[in-house]
Symmetry: C2
Subunit: 196 residues, 2 copies
């Protein structure tokens, strides 16, 4: 059923994502992609002029999705704590649903060059800015203590490192994992925080 | 001066670490390693019977170092909060000092197979256990709220994701970064935590 609806482009993206994730980007040749997609070399090159263009097309959609999701959250009126929780849940859902693409992104990001690299870095900056703005809105309303760069990096690491240990049969739903992280962020690690 | 003290093995490890980190593991051939190390193929194979053996020899020493450091911390009498801070500082120092090796580890861990893979996974489990035991000791003495698996993964992510953004001219010393993380962990993100 999937086969009949898929365009050639979608098919190439699907098989390339699977091959890059399982055997690695460098170890996957255009020949492997032809064989797995059932497309000839000229159709393949028509869709993607280079293997790097294909890599770029795999690792950017989930990032654009996260940016769109985050910007929508920032435009919505809600208390900062709730917004942070929604962002955390959305990010964990997106990583879970795009585990192969996020894995490829972390492993192969250094293989992206030139204009692709500039665009990818700009997308990453835009995404990071969303976390930063969510935290800053919390500081502005007196709900959060911190919105500095290291707090943002800490939160990014906490969430994105999950590509290494998330499995579909993992320790909980994306929402449960996000709530566990937010609980840690909200209350800290101390059993009895000093009164302030 | 470095040249005269270095053994052939050390030289191979040094040039391979540099090449794997800059141009990637797959893109680096034995020919590149011969050229960069100035050793012949037979000497190279004498030191490392395969490129994978070389990869394994690059990505395990810092992990063994972290495990030894963590076990020593666990054997030392100190309050749990101080132990967590010392662990955090030691981990940030180790990542900073071994940035090329940690980068290679994150990118190429899937290229390690067979017995090497089993040993690497065992080392990772041992390392993760250290964080778990440091948190559990804190729960036992009533200083921490949590020592569950997700709290451990959150802390691992927060620290290890830094291989992507740490630079020698980065946002602070390893100790300052660790202290910023521990501050976030201790007090959470809230400006005024609810009294408990």
């Amino acid at each position: 059923m999937l086969e009949t609806r898929e365009t050639s482009r979608e098919r190439v993206l699907r098989v390339a994502t699977q091959l890059f994730a399982t055997q690695g980007y460098h170890a996957t040749g255009m020949k492997d992609l032809e064989k797995a997609s059932g497309l000839g070399r000229s159709s393949l090159y028509h869709q993607f002029p280079s293997k790097e263009a294909l890599l770029f097309a795999i690792i950017t959609p989930y990032l654009r999705e996260l940016i769109a999701f985050g910007n929508k959250l920032l435009d919505t009126e809600m208390p900062a704590r709730q917004r942070l929780r929604e962002l955390s849940r959305g990010v964990m859902r997106c990583i879970t649903e795009n585990l192969a693409a996020t894995t490829i992104c972390f492993r192969e990001i250094h293989a992206v060059t030139g204009e692709h690299k500039a665009e990818l870095l700009a997308l990453h900056r835009e995404y990071e800015q969303i976390w930063s703005r969510v935290l800053q809105a919390g500081v502005d309303e007196g709900a959060f203590r911190r919105a500095d760069g290291l707090a943002v990096k800490a939160l990014l690491g906490m969430h994105h490192y999950s590509y290494l240990w998330l499995r579909t049969d993992g320790p909980g739903t994306p929402e449960e994992i996000a709530d566990s992280f937010c609980d840690l962020l909200r209350d800290g690690m101390l059993s009895t925080p000093p009164p302030r």
